[in-house]
């Protein structure tokens, strides 16, 4: 069978032009996916098995046990969801509200501040299609899409022709990289690569803002006032510019406000936008849903009709302080990626993992419930890194439940 226009869930670009050739339920060939996407679609990872306390069990028992653990807990926490459909995320929010649980996702320690500023209307943003059609200035700040979102430059931001950019990259677009290290992206944009020392992003942002406001810019590292002025002038000449904020930038800025100020200064003469380089394919979707429901994008604790919010509700803080006494983890692997001292605390509380693939966390989980891959095996909707909604239609007939169905059944069992 030949499938057209399949959506890849390998990253938050959600490429929707993927071709696939199948023979029964096996994938023979994929077209137009990057290497990372091809691996995701083939499902190269080892699948998780359904277990209770490490022993294989059937899914009904596992769901009942999960419901028991969650309803008996005083302060349960639900975490993850960046790799789940909007429909599953809705169920998780419902479950958190019913349980008066903590709820948080990865945005809590990555792109949260950028998404928050956008949803609160504090900074202008745009869509990736607008970037393709209109952008003549692209700034990758602390981001390396060539590694993290391989098709970013070819589908939208630099190389393709667009309505107002008929000649594409050669003449119509300028791409700039500001980063603390050389990267695959800086290799391509080597004419406009500014390498800065770690932690100095804020300083450069302030200096650029000063330059745009007619002051003489100064920084403590090896960039001269002249160089900064030239960069500021290059940026402000743009007709349509987009700054793609990567983790490198977000991690080094304690507050996002200086970036907002820079964009304000640029927009006295130009038209700049900010976009988060979201990693997991639907992290932004979770932020949108929770924002609609509570006014916050992450880090909440439900309590009847009230919602508490703040750093004390973040997954790191809740785990570290031992506040939670049971955790439901969906499509995420905290044991594999959190700082060791915090991840270790997962071993002190009962944990339930819902995931298509085996993870470090699933190996220590009290209950592990395997799910279908949203994308190849399960349907749903997701929000791309630019906030656009994308519909995902599966093509493999899987016996596995989707995380939406699993969460629905846990909800019913409570």
């Amino acid at each position: 069978m030949e499938i057209k226009d399949f959506v890849c869930t390998g990253c938050a670009l959600l490429c929707d032009d993927i071709g696939i050739k199948t023979e029964g339920n096996t994938i023979e060939k994929t077209y137009n996916t990057c290497r990372k996407g091809a691996a995701r679609i083939r499902g190269d990872e080892e699948r998780m098995t359904c277990t209770i306390k490490g022993r294989e069990e059937n899914i009904d028992k596992a769901i009942t046990e999960a419901a028991r653990i969650l309803s008996e807990a005083n302060k349960p926490m639900i975490y993850g969801l960046g790799n789940s459909s909007l429909e599953a995320q809705k169920k998780a929010i419902e479950l958190a509200s019913k349980l008066s649980a903590y709820l948080d996702d990865t945005s809590s320690f990555c792109q949260g501040p950028v998404v928050e500023a956008i949803l609160e209307g504090k900074v202008p943003t745009c869509t990736l299609d607008e970037v393709r059609h209109l952008a003549d200035m692209i700034l990758f700040w602390g981001s390396d899409p060539a590694s993290s979102h391989p098709r970013h430059l070819s589908r939208f931001s630099y190389f393709p022709r667009g309505e107002k950019r008929q000649r594409g990259w050669e003449e119509n677009r300028t791409a700039i990289v500001i980063d603390v290290r050389k990267s695959d992206t800086s290799e391509i944009c080597n004419k406009n690569f500014y390498r800065i020392p770690p932690g100095s992003d804020g300083e450069l942002i302030d200096a650029l803002t000063a330059a745009l406001n007619g002051k003489i810019p100064k920084v403590s590292f090896g960039m001269s006032s002249k160089e900064i002025l030239e960069l500021a002038n290059l940026l402000k000449k743009a007709e349509f510019g987009t700054i793609f904020a990567g983790l490198g930038l977000v991690y080094s800025l304690p507050e996002i406000e200086p970036m907002i100020k820079l964009i304000e200064a640029l927009n006295k003469s130009s038209n700049f936008h900010l976009m988060p380089m979201v990693g997991q394919y639907n992290m932004r979707g979770f932020n949108h849903l929770l924002f609609e429901k509570t006014g916050y994008i992450n880090r909440v604790k439900f309590d009847g009709n009230k919602v508490d919010h703040g750093p004390h509700c973040s997954v790191m803080e809740v785990l570290n302080s031992g506040e939670t006494d049971a955790m439901l983890i969906i499509g995420s692997d905290p044991l594999g990626c959190f700082p060791k001292s915090i991840a270790e605390k997962l071993k002190n509380i009962p944990t339930i993992v819902i995931d298509p693939a085996r993870t470090f966390t699933s190996m220590i989980a009290d209950v592990s419930i395997p799910s279908a891959y949203t994308g190849t095996e399960a349907a749903g909707n997701a929000v791309r890194m630019d906030g656009e909604k994308v519909e995902i239609t599966p093509f493999i007939d899987s016996k596995k439940l989707s995380d939406e169905e699993i969460l629905k059944r846990i909800l019913e069992a409570i």
Binding site: R35, K36, R132, P150, S154, F159, P160, D184
Partner: protein
């Protein structure tokens, strides 16, 4: 990609000239340019040099994988990003709204496309570097983040 010096280290280094070159170093340069193959050095095929022979074969992607235009793709380096697909002027001319606009290709006449996560060549005879009117084009080389494309 191996350098001539690296290749030289695995040659017999006796400068016996059996290969028709003036020295092993000259042979190394010729290997790199793919004017000759590893098999053109008779001493290298002797049993005692087998280990080095095998290393050299691995170091040098077989010349057959180069297209008539001399284009080689190091698939192990390719990330399937599609930059070359969008940047190639022939792709753009043949398929302006598909491959040339960053989308799935809609033409059979393009040179570069991505299959199974890596770039695949077809119609290489239309490459601008090829044929009587050839000119220097480096669209695919300049846009590749991992230097996976090479012309020999």
């Amino acid at each position: 990609m191996a350098s001539a010096m690296e290749i030289y280290q695995y040659l017999p280094r006796t400068n016996c000239k059996e290969c028709g070159k003036s020295s092993c170093m000259a042979f190394a340069a010729a290997l790199l340019a793919r004017e000759v193959t590893v098999d053109d050095c008779p001493p290298l095929k002797e049993e005692k040099n087998k280990e080095n022979y095998d290393i050299l074969v691995k170091l040098l992607p077989p010349a057959e994988s180069a297209s008539e235009t001399g284009m080689i793709v190091h698939t192990e380096l390719c990330t399937g990003c599609g930059n070359c697909v969008v940047a190639c002027p022939v792709n753009v001319a043949e398929d302006p709204y598909g491959a040339g606009s960053g989308k799935a290709p809609t033409s059979d006449k393009i040179i570069l496309r991505v299959e199974d996560g890596v770039v695949k060549l077809s119609n290489v005879e239309s490459c601008r570097r090829f044929g009587p009117q050839s000119r220097l084009c480096s669209g695919c080389i300049a846009t590749c983040p991992t230097k996976a494309i090479e012309f020999v």
